[in-house]
Subunit: 275 residues, 2 copies
């Protein structure tokens, strides 16, 4: 399970441009040489000469690699391009771009979350450090007081998601952890959460928002106790209940909010431009 082809782009979108060919060559060069994060690439001038392209073209190629997160480039002496490990944030952002036009629903996300998050929590139960347990508790206490204003309400919702991010940090399965972190970030940016922030959700259905918060707090408290007891089976059960419950509240809120503000939403422009 190592070194799956870094370069093979799969489908030739059209005619490959010069800069794209350079990109592929540099990629396979990195893979073939087995370069690791931190290793430096030759400097611009040398690369230009090596690939027989001009500055502008080489710059575009390096830009492409930089956007993909595969290299970092810095100015000054000892500067230039160096191999980088793709950051978590960058990957999540690039992946979020894919779903931008997919019209995901909360149900679809929660259908996956319901399956993965209990497993993540159970795995984390085994490895959570004392520091992480304290961090969990801090997130819980932040949510334990009724919010005095909307900003605090919003921060409490985000803290609830931080709770789940901490579990991802403790999980040794990087693949599982990434998936859960990404769903957390999707939820952090989702419309319903934003509506809660802006106060629209409260106005639409204050009782539901209160119950969402109260149920969340109760669930996190119970989970924290199970984590401290290092009881993976109980953690799994509690987390599943928590996710199912949260989904119910969120979906209900989404329906309310959408129904109330449908007319305010700007209709999307007609596709297939101009002409």
């Amino acid at each position: 399970m190592r070194k799956a082809a870094l370069h093979k782009t799969g489908v030739p979108t059209s005619l490959p441009k010069r800069s794209d060919m350079v990109v592929e060559q540099i990629k396979s060069w990195i893979a073939d040489e087995g370069l690791n994060p931190g290793d430096r690439l030759p400097q611009e001038k040398e690369l230009m000469h090596h690939f027989g392209v001009s500055k502008g073209t080489m710059r575009e190629a390096l830009k492409s690699l930089e956007v993909q997160g595969l290299i970092r480039v810095s100015t000054g002496p000892k500067g230039g391009a160096s191999v980088a490990s793709v950051s978590l944030q960058r990957s999540m952002q690039l992946l979020a771009n894919y779903f931008y036009f997919q019209d995901l629903t909360l149900r679809q996300i929660y259908a996956v979350r319901r399956l993965l998050e209990p497993e993540l929590a159970a795995a984390a139960a085994e490895y959570l450090t004392e520091a992480e347990l304290d961090a969990l508790e801090k997130s819980v206490t932040l949510c334990s007081h009724p919010p005095t204003d909307r900003d605090m309400e919003h921060r409490q919702r985000l803290a609830e998601l931080d709770f789940h991010d901490i579990l991802a940090n403790a999980c040794r399965n990087e693949y599982l952890a990434f998936n859960c972190r990404f769903m957390n970030s999707l939820l952090k940016n989702c419309t319903v959460i934003k509506k809660i922030y802006s106060g629209e959700a409260q106005r639409a259905s204050p009782a539901r928002v209160r119950k969402l918060a109260a149920d969340g707090l109760r669930a996190h408290l119970a989970l924290l106790a199970a984590f401290r007891a290092r009881d993976p089976a109980r953690v799994r059960t509690l987390m599943l209940e928590h996710i199912v419950e949260a989904e119910r509240h969120m979906v209900a809120l989404e329906a309310v909010v959408v129904a109330r503000f449908m007319d305010e939403r700007p209709a999307r422009r007609s596709a297939a431009a101009a002409e």
Copy 2:
């Protein structure tokens, strides 16, 4: 659940370069205007003038957006940049870059696959068209004859994964489907599959390879019957068994192959470059 911020990059990596600022501005412009795939952006010259940057800088910005999959650009009259929906292939490749340095194990991937694939299959059972059922059957028959050479053996392994891709196509949950498709592509490129292709796995453990193929065929046949019967519950059960079984074989093969060829693997260079 619409229009989560397209632009907010999150962490300012360092000092923003000119081209990066242009990128962010164009992104938020696309989001604010609610542009859809196909909608055209102003042409290079106009953009240069609008943002007050030179041609090279503008080109870097457009290159960045192109790499992210957010725009496509073409030459000629009526050419220029237009908004694009990020393609599945591009997203999977960008995401694969993240895991390139994460040293994922088969176990980690299968820990997630075991949870998601049965759910995907159950969901697909409801929606599979006749054409898709036929495609499934075609994949199964391709695997039903003992392979005559290594190339055929390899194509059969890939056909098995195509079987699972077809299920993803039939699933209405785009988020679940993406996750399953991505794991399929990870497996297609994983070392063990490649070793099977090159014949190393056969030489190391021919009995295990035969059993992997035989069990896979049997499982897919049973699944096909359950799909035709539109029996989601049975599909779910069968798929779980199939995945667990496949994991066992693959992990065993991986161990054998790694043990036999450890010395041939090129050691990775020392990290933290020069100096």
